[in-house]
Amino acid sequence: MIAMAREQRLAEIFVEVADSLVEDFDVIDLLQRLSSRCVELLDVSAAGILLVDAHGELQIIAASDEHTRLLELFALQHDQGPCVECYRSGAARTNIDLTRPETTAAWPRFAAQARETGYVITHAIPLRLRNRVVGALNLFQTGAHRLGDGDIALAQALADVATIAVLQQRTLEQSHVENSQLQTALTSRILIEQVKGVLAERWNTSVDDAFAAFRSYARSRQLRLSDLAARIIGGDFDTRMIPPPPSATGGRPEERRA
């Protein structure tokens, strides 16, 4: 019965993704939803999707939750960690025990920070585009249970969906080169981090809370996260329109500029 329910859920997720791909969609938001679905379906604690950038390094593009602590853990993997190994070899690295020094000897800093955050097992699944690898799906568990072959195959299927989502994203005018979609996604991600800072400062709140308010506003208005972020940073959007998070204590709702 449990397997049945999961298959059904998986089918629903594929339909959800397929629906999203039909029109101009928000790739970051979609990947974020997909990361959350990984957590739900695979019974892991956190999931993140990393893409390779122009420097050949992995960058976090979306995560099941946006807590800065988790984002920083993904960010550490620009040059070390299981995702880097997975990216370079093209092979999945699964059921890595973060508590055993011999398995983590190649990337002690990453392992230490992952353990501090409470994770004991991690997995890295490649995002494959034909014969090359464009990124990785990274999973973390706080519990020590192993993922079986069926789970890994499912994780790979979700990783493939993520790849399709990134590469399907089309701007209005261009359609024929997949690589530029990767670049666009990476740029959007940084833009979103920048706007988190802008809003956190205006509202005098944490970046995590600022993001939650920003995202729920964007979703309610069906605005793309990166479009809204660009308008805010460009000064073309009055941020008083966005209901601030409950934690906001910023005296002035809008900064005055000299």
Binding site: D53, A54, H55, G56, E57, Q59, I60, T68, L71, E72, A75, H78, T171, E173, Q174, H176, V177, N179, S180, Q183, T184, T187, R189, I190, L191, I192, E193, Q194, V195, K196, G197, V198, L199, A200, E201, R202, N204, V207, A229, A230, I233, G234, E255, R257, A258
Partner: protein, 243 residues
């Protein structure tokens, strides 16, 4: 590629545009920087002369892969201009045809909302851009972004010694750096680009890693001053954080 990047050192002699064109296997290359308050595109390097004329044309008209890449922050790839809908760039397309320009790709220089400039690549008669060319062009755009973020005379707010800062600082991969940049831009009332420069200048001046300084900003242990000094970045550490 690494060798060519070395040969492109900004202080080295020679013609960097020519070197770019060679490494990319392109007909021509032009690099324009966005300058001044209205972010006008100013050509910095062009090779050959055809590239210079095309660069002038696309930015005068505001049409083409260069201006579009600046606007969107994404690469705009049209290696075969014959396949572009005429109404997309109505004035540019016929003019480009007359000039003998067959295909054009624009690669933005920037980080997130920060836009520094654009690299425009003229494609050869193949009317396509290979994966390798794309990878090389984006890598080149990234390296040039790092170099030009250091100021090189076109940033108004002057921070101490930006020219001596490393071309591509470590730490830019960390979300916390971009979050801190956003916060500082509000604290100082400056552009996001200048905010990053101030953050980097502070890290450089205090000999601390960029990420560590950014962590302090995001945790509100460090704040960039309310005074709009042209002096130094002028951050102060509020005692016990903000109440």
């Amino acid at each position: 590629m690494a060798e060519v990047l070395r040969s492109l050192r900004l202080d080295a002699g020679g013609d960097p545009a020519q070197a770019c064109a060679r490494v990319l296997g392109a007909e021509g290359v032009a690099l324009s920087l966005l300058v001044g308050a209205d972010r006008t595109a100013e050509p910095l390097w062009c090779h050959p002369e055809l590239s210079a004329r095309f660069e002038e044309l696309q930015f005068t008209l505001g049409e083409g892969p260069g201006p579009d890449a600046v606007r969107t922050g994404s690469p705009v790839l049209e290696p075969d201009l014959e396949r572009v809908r005429p109404e997309r760039w109505p004035v540019l397309l016929p003019a480009a045809r007359d000039m003998g320009v067959q295909g054009v790709c624009g690669f933005p220089l920037g980080i997130g909302a920060i836009r520094v400039g654009v690299l425009t690549v003229l494609c050869d008669g193949d009317r396509r851009i290979s994966e390798q060319q794309f990878t090389d062009a984006t890598a080149l755009a990234a390296v040039l972004t790092g170099a030009f973020l250091n100021g090189n005379g076109h940033v108004n707010g002057t921070a101490p010694g930006p020219d001596r800062m490393p071309a591509w600082p470590t730490g830019l991969n960390r979300p916390v750096v971009h979050q801190a940049t956003g916060m500082i831009s509000v604290q100082l009332g400056v552009s996001i680009q200048e905010a990053l420069l101030r953050l980097r200048a502070h890290a450089y001046g205090s000999e601390r890693p960029l990420g560590e300084v950014a962590e302090d900003v995001v945790a509100r242990r460090l704040r960039f001053g309310g005074e709009l000094d042209d002096d130094i970045s002028g951050p102060y550490s509020p005692e016990g954080g903000k109440g």
